[in-house]
Structure formats: structure tokens, C-alpha cells
């Protein structure tokens, strides 16, 4: 194990990732219990990408994200209660119940508007980076998007402009196409690209790129640290492709908590790993993977893991109560905020 990340940093990332996971488990529960309807997307399985990447941003940096955004918003430090309330369309939600899951955002944390249109986070991000460059304060932009966003022409146009104008932006492509279901299993189209290697697209436009294991906090953190530093030094843009496995619950059109509520005892060896998803628990689940690594840090690690879980779980229980108890937006607010 490399020494890139300090022990403290790894424990902090674990807490963030666990919160992201428990948040998504709450979202799925709220949906099953019909506290909200409509389609939604969960970030489970990609925590080891979003958490370290976002941890490297400073308060002046900006971000843009996609339909699969919950983990990003939580990792950036948004209030889980407000975020859950937003997904449930409540008055106390981060956007007063107007945006919901697809447009989850928190302007106070540097998020630009969250786009539900594939590729939208990339062009918005280039605009964010343009503004950052003109501030001359060393701030940067992080654009988060999925692999299919590179099928949209706007991605290509945006990368060209970012490269030409040397904008301080990190393009973080979360490639979760591996293990997605094929059509015979009732899955939906994933990446449809003639490029064998997505890094060739930024490459064709003169943007340096790296590929990392998106399930490995160390790998992501190191690449992201290098990219952030380059962007702050005026050597942007940079492109990172983080390879993750598609979580089974995100394979069908409607997400389902197919792997259950994450049991950290699977990391400590106190719970058996078996059944249909055993490979996922044993190898792919980034939260369990980091927990196992932390156990190697010696005495007290197990207790610390469960203590963090107890605290995170309590926080999410409070968030659920807050969201459920929150009122729907008042009818008289229906016409607000179309204009300034």
C-alpha cells in the first residue's frame, strides 16, 4: 500500500463514503415506502471515485454533475437531511422541492446547476472553469460525468474549447459500463462508442489523461491530486477516467437495493459473504474494500469502523425523520423563482 494518503485522510474518506452509501440506502428506502415517486439513480459502487476526488477541492472551487449525483452532493458536504428532503420534493429540500433527484444541487457549495441532460455537466463545467480562470485566484472546476456523455457532441465541443483556452478544469469521467446488463437480461444500453479507449478523445484534443481504478481511493486520490495541482498552476485542463463496476442495483432501469443494506461485518469477517452478489461484496464494493484496508491498520480499527457506522447511521436516521416530517411546498410558492 502506497503512502500517498495519510491514515487520517483514509479514515475521513471512509466516513464520507459510508455516509454516501447510507444516504443512497435511505433514498431507496424512501422510494420503496413511497415517500417519493419518479425515476432516480443511485451512486452506490462509485464512492471511491467521488469521495477522494471531491475531497481535494477547496471552498472556492466549483463542480458540475449529472443525473447520478447524490454521492457528489453528499461528499461535498451538503446536509443529508436537506438533500433527502429535496429528493422527496419537500419545502425544506436544498432547492425547495423543485429540482428533485436529477437536479440535486447546492449552490452554496459551488455546484452549478445539475443537469439531467446527458453531457450537460461538461459544457456547464467549461463555463465554470472559464469564470474560475478569470478570477485568477487559483480556483478550479471539477466536471463529473459518465462514459456515455462522450457520445454527445457537446462533450467534444467543450473539450476542444477547454483545451484551446487552457481552462482550469478536471474532467472526471466515471466509466461504470463494466458489468452493466446486456439486453437479454433486460438491461439498457450503456456505452456506445467506437473509440476503444475513451482517453483517446481528450488525447485527440491535446488534453492529458489518466485512467485509474475507480474502486481504489488511493489511485483516484493520487491522480486527482496531480490533476488539481496542474490546473491550479495553469496547466489545465486534465482528464481522468475512473473505471468502476456497475453496481447490480443500477443495472435494471429502476434501481433496487439488490445487495441489501451494506453490512460492514462482511469486511471484518463476522458476516458470511455468499449468494448471488458474493463477488461484489468480496471484490467490488468500494466501501467494504476500504473497510478491509483500514482493518489492517491494527488495534482498534474494527471498533472505530463500527463507531463511525453508528454515527453515520444515526445521522441518516435523523435525516430521514427530518425529510419525512418536512412539509410539502406551500401552493402560494408555486410561481416563485422563475425569474430573479
Amino acid at each position: 500500500m502506497s503512502a500517498h494518503l495519510s491514515q487520517d485522510a483514509r479514515w475521513r474518506l471512509f466516513e464520507t463514503m459510508l455516509l454516501m452509501r447510507r444516504f443512497e440506502e435511505s433514498v431507496a428506502k424512501m422510494n420503496v415506502e413511497k415517500h417519493f415517486t419518479g425515476h432516480y439513480h443511485l451512486y452506490i459502487g462509485q464512492e471511491a471515485t467521488g469521495a477522494p476526488a471531491i475531497s481535494l477541492l477547496g471552498p472556492k472551487d466549483s463542480l458540475s454533475t449529472t443525473h447520478r449525483n447524490h454521492g457528489h452532493v453528499i461528499a461535498r458536504g451538503a446536509d443529508p437531511g436537506g438533500a433527502l428532503a429535496e429528493i422527496m420534493g419537500r419545502a425544506t429540500g436544498l432547492s425547495g422541492g423543485r429540482g428533485g433527484t436529477i437536479h440535486l444541487t447546492d449552490a452554496s457549495l459551488g455546484f452549478l446547476s445539475t443537469s439531467g441532460v446527458v453531457g450537460g455537466s461538461i459544457s456547464l463545467g467549461v463555463g465554470g472553469a472559464f469564470a474560475r480562470k478569470h478570477r485568477k485566484d487559483g480556483s478550479i472546476h471539477l466536471a463529473l460525468f459518465g462514459d456515455s456523455a462522450l457520445e454527445e457532441g457537446v462533450a467534444f465541443e467543450s473539450l476542444n474549447i477547454a483545451s484551446l483556452w487552457k481552462l482550469p478544469i478536471v474532467f472526471l469521467c466515471e466509466n461504470n459500463s463494466a458489468d452493466s446488463w446486456d439486453r437479454s437480461r433486460g438491461g439498457y444500453t450503456t456505452l456506445t462508442h467506437a473509440a476503444n479507449d475513451l482517453r483517446s478523445i481528450p488525447g485527440a484534443l491535446g488534453i492529458p489523461s489518466r485512467r485509474v481504478d475507480g474502486c481504489d481511493v488511493e489511485d483516484v486520490h493520487e491522480a486527482m491530486a496531480e490533476a488539481v495541482e496542474a490546473c491550479r498552476a495553469g496547466k489545465g485542463p486534465m482528464f481522468i477516467e475512473a473505471m468502476t463496476r456497475r453496481w447490480a442495483g443500477s443495472a435494471p432501469l429502476w434501481p433496487e437495493l439488490s445487495t441489501g443494506v451494506t453490512d460492514l461485518r462482511m469486511a471484518t469477517g463476522e458476516a458470511a459473504i455468499e449468494g448471488e452478489h458474493s463477488a461484489w461484496y468480496a471484490q467490488n464494493d468500494p466501501v467494504l474494500k476500504l473497510a478491509r484496508e483500514l482493518l489492517g491498520e491494527g488495534a482498534g480499527a474494527r471498533e472505530r469502523i463500527f463507531a463511525i457506522d453508528a454515527q453515520v447511521t444515526a445521522r441518516m436516521q435523523a435525516a430521514e425523520r427530518f425529510a419525512i416530517d418536512s412539509p410539502m411546498p406551500a401552493p402560494e410558492t408555486a410561481l416563485q423563482h422563475v425569474f430573479a
Binding site: 419518479g38 420534493g89 423543485r98 439486453r183 401552493p331
Partner: protein, 326 residues
Amino acid sequence: MAEPRMLTYREAVLDALFAEMRADPAVMIIGEDVGAAGGVFKQTEGLFAEFGALRVVDTPISEPGAFGMAVGAAMTGMRPVFEVMFGDFMTLCMDQLVNQAAKVRYMSNGRAGVPLVLRTTMGTGANLGPQHSQGFYAWAAHVPGLKVVAPATPQDAHDLMRAAIRDDDPVLFFEDRMLYTARGPVVAGEPQTLGRARVVRQGRDVTIVAIGRMVAFAQAAAEELAREGVEVEIVDPRTIAPLDRRTIIASVKRTHRALVVDGAPLAYGVTGEIASIIAEEAFDWLDAPVSRLGAANVPVPISRSLEPLSRPDASAIAQRVRAMLA
């Protein structure tokens, strides 16, 4: 005449696609997830198995390029039905739609055409929020060269899809997702032509011209008003462009009152066009000003409490009719 079958709206459109693809090898489907996956709403289920990958084409998420290719295919012998998953994503195709497809016939002096259908979904009620709910049919109808259809029933969805495919010009076909599970009798008869309204219900006191899903709300309102002794006539234009002015005007001349109802924003929309036609062509027959109901001028919110407030419903329609008769 064939026996009617009970089909959902979604099944009725799909049935029309099967019929037209069997009848004409030039008809093809292009869109995202339309192939073996059968569409995100199962609206193309089974087509891939029967017609194969050359006629049921799954595209990358590249709306401008893929729609532009549909236009090119339409200019060279095919009749594509291009699917835009959510109506809001039509904005991604706007250049190819407005600057290419709509203008080819005129620019070529009538020697070339673009026989294609752009089908898309819209509608509020599923909490899909600001970027997955809108119906831009008023925008489309504003563009010379485009035809625009918004069917309200399974039978009309079936007939108008067949008519749209057989039409030699670009036709935009707007399907309200909230109608997808609505069930009704469908007779697979002769294809209709576009541009004919339907009198849904006859009545002597007031004409309601309702678009798409608003027809069902108007029917519910009419039932309620009938119990109060008010006889409502409902006209469903079915085709927004070209618009069947004659049927609308004839109805208003009988009832002397008109309410126009739309699920899209009132401002600068279809209701304004229809109301002004009524005012211009039936002014002397009117006993009250033409009235309009439409969605509020807001993006569609995700909130369960706000979303229904954003557009008219049966009680709003009934209430407005009472006010008009008061």
C-alpha cells in the same frame, strides 16, 4: 369492420408501428434504447425481434447527430420514426429539425421532402421534474413546414401514428406519458388524415377545446357540470398543425361560448392561437369572451404538491366554466 380490441395508449401506438413496418419496408425506427431493450417505456417492445437491427436502430446518446441522420435517411428513401425519449430533449435536435427537416421541401421547390415522424413523450404527473416533463408542441407548431399531433385516446394514437408515418412531411407526435396506461377500444381501420378534429361530446352550453391529456380532464369536468345541468361540448383538435378550424368554429357557433384548455404553459402557446381564431371567425356568435386555461409559466417542479398546481385539472376546468356561465 374489425372488432375493436382493448389496448392501452402505449400498445395502440406500438400496434400502429408494427402495422406500418409490415406494410412498408421503408419504415424504420431510430432512437435510444429502442432496439432489443424495447424502449424505456416499453414503447418499441418486439419491433427489434421482428424487423432486426437494420430497421430498428439503437443510437448512442447523440440526439443532434442521430436526428440529422434520420433526416438524411428520409431524404433518401426511408420513412424513419425517430424517438426522442423525453420531449425536453427535443431542444438537442432543434437545428436539424428547424433548419433542415422543416425547410427541405420549400427550399427544393417541392422536389424533395422529409417523410419522418419525431415521436416524443411529455407530461406532468410522474414527478420527473424540470428537464423531463415539457411538451414543446407550441414551439414546433410555430415552425413552417412541421406538422404537430397530440393524440388523446388509444384509437387516435393508433390512427394518427399510422397517418403520421404515411404523411410525406415531418410530423411531430407528442405522447403524454400519463396516458400510456389509459385503455380503450382500438379498431385498426383505414388510416386517417392529419388535421381533423373530433367532437368528443356534444352539448349546447359551452365548447371546450382541449389538447391531449386535457381532453380526459375536460370529460371529467363535463360529467360534473352535467349534474348541475350544464351541457358541455368538447372538441379535441388532435392535430395542432394543421388545425381543423372548421370543426372548432362550427362548435362555438352552436354553443356561443368557448374555453380552450392546454397542459403546456398558457403564455404564447396553443390556447392563444385557437382563441384568436375563434375571436376572428366567430366573434358575432359569442355570448362571452373566449376563455383560456393552461399551465403556469414555470418549469415543471418535481414536488408532488407543486407539480399538480402547475397545470389545469378537471376541477379548474369546471370552475372556469361555471364562471363563464355566471
